[in-house]
Symmetry: C2
Subunit: 324 residues, 2 copies
């Protein structure tokens, strides 16, 4: 069993959150962990697995089908949760684009290792062949940041961040705020979904979306409108072959990953939806979860970090209990 233990150990840090859809297995294994043995680690607090095992049903919330997108690829479904508090106009437009079936038949045209995958109309450059937009808009004024509003939930992280005055979580989304400027925005983490644009800040609108598949490109924060994050199926994007053309575009049409369709979950028959829950980020359970990852208590760890970056928290997602 040695190999098993070893792989378990290296995986504990992310297993409990990222692979939350397989949580039962993780928890079963992790609960066997012995208490920490080194003085460098706090001994009284629970491990990540223990925090999640002790979470009550009310610590989880279901996805809102009106703010959930299903991106259907040949390999399966990518589920995207939208964050309307941070980009209301873009999200309304993206839903309009989905509802007029604009995205259907487009493709992932670019996959850059350790950066992003990006979808577009492959015929975008050929105006005659370009897919028309019917009722939605091609571009919108930017929503790079929004005005701070006390009604926007914000669970602040205890640690400093180099890119923003404060970071934390808002309804499950990694976020930042600047109380001096009274602005807040979503941060670029693995799985973040944003709106591609040209140089003019008002040139994006939703027809071209990208998803982060590498090191959090925090330098993009406040430069792009972020609309949400992938909560399931990111591996369908992150394992795509990388493009070999300039800017990691695919060089041949057949290399692109076709988008069968994008739908708002609310428009999909209920029995075809996927029932997911996200750990609420405004609860003592979430605070304990963060702390368990700031200072890992699993026996494997010799030293606890005593710090966590906003993109390392990874808000857990699970299949709703009793879901098919």
């Amino acid at each position: 069993m040695k190999a098993d233990t070893q792989q378990q150990d290296l995986s504990l840090t992310r297993a409990a959150s990222l692979c939350a859809l397989g949580l039962a297995t993780m928890l079963a294994a992790s609960l066997h962990a012995k208490p920490p043995v080194t003085a460098a680690k706090p001994v009284s607090a629970p491990t990540t697995a223990a925090v999640l095992a002790a979470a009550k049903p009310g610590d989880w919330r279901a996805l809102d089908p009106q703010n959930t997108l299903y991106l259907e690829l040949s390999g399966g479904r990518v589920v995207i949760e939208l964050a309307p508090a941070f980009a209301p106009n873009h999200i309304a437009n993206i839903k309009a684009l989905a509802r007029e079936k604009y995205y259907d038949g487009l493709a992932i045209v670019r996959a850059q290792d350790n950066y992003v995958v990006q979808m577009n109309d492959p015929d975008y450059e050929n105006e005659a062949a370009r897919k028309p937009i019917k009722t939605a808009k091609r571009s919108l004024p930017p929503e790079f940041t929004v005005a701070w509003d006390a009604k926007i939930p914000f669970t602040r992280l205890p640690d400093p961040d180099g890119y923003a005055p404060e970071t934390g979580f808002s309804d499950g989304f990694a976020a930042a705020r600047d109380m001096k400027a009274q602005r807040t925005w979503l941060t670029h983490c693995y799985g973040t979904v944003g709106v591609g644009r040209l140089n003019p800040v008002d040139s994006g609108g939703g027809p071209e979306l990208y998803v982060v598949i590498g090191t959090p490109p925090r330098q993009l924060d406040r430069n792009v409108t972020v609309v949400g994050r992938v909560v399931k199926g990111i591996e369908l994007l992150s394992t795509l072959p990388r493009g070999t053309g300039p800017y990691s575009l695919y060089e041949k049409p057949e290399q692109r990953a076709p988008i069968q369709r994008i739908r708002v979950a609310a428009d999909v028959p209920e029995n075809e939806r996927v029932a997911l829950e996200v750990l609420r980020t405004d609860t003592p359970t979430f605070e304990a979860y963060v702390e368990s990852r700031r200072n890992h208590r699993e026996e494997w760890y010799a030293v606890a970090a005593g710090h966590i970056d906003v993109c390392n928290v990874e808000v857990p997602v699970r299949a709703a209990p009793g879901a098919r």
Copy 2:
């Protein structure tokens, strides 16, 4: 050309470093960038592309074949640069393992999205079938950190880091140091290569290596012996299908990615080596490179971050000029 511009823009941040083997194209396109137009951005300093275009031959150094590994997969070659100043004993052992052909025929047995791929002897759990180690060692005392020594190069980054008192670069490797404790270590970034271990800190030695393919798992810093980083071919690892078993192990033997062999570059005939150069990290050019990424000057950026994390720097690698 609109689409091209857009893709160029989103890609500029990483293109110049990560895709450095295609640098010529990137530079050609990037040099057309106009000066920044917003007051928020410094206007006098060059862009990343301009910094690299102006780099002199002496700003680059060749890989040392004695500290370079070729990991050969069916899809191609992954090139790993080793950092002997930070893990001399483990690196000597890994080279011994490679030289006794221990790795040949092993496999990538685990691929966890946004975390690591990990190699192992698929028969590790079956002692009778397990591949024997001849002259190398299975385990070694840890080299999680090493004593600070003024002979170890260290180009300090100007920005604070949450996980370490200081971060910077040592001979091209992302590193941290604690001058109070007089210790230094390599940080976990995308592409970092480390030594898997069991719970005892002295249970790793090199037979089982992992490579980071996601958000920098900085919580692993000082908990594992880091031996180097992937300088070419990371996409052969990062696009592997993710394992669906516990801890993202592959469930079926045929899902594993077989390792044809690992060789020390010095042991490979010269005409079969790949000639790469790494941007030196102890030069004014590197300082300008870092600054160009702390504060992006490309026209696309509306706001400059004014900060960079050690794992976002991405030390450029290129094909040696004139190499086949």
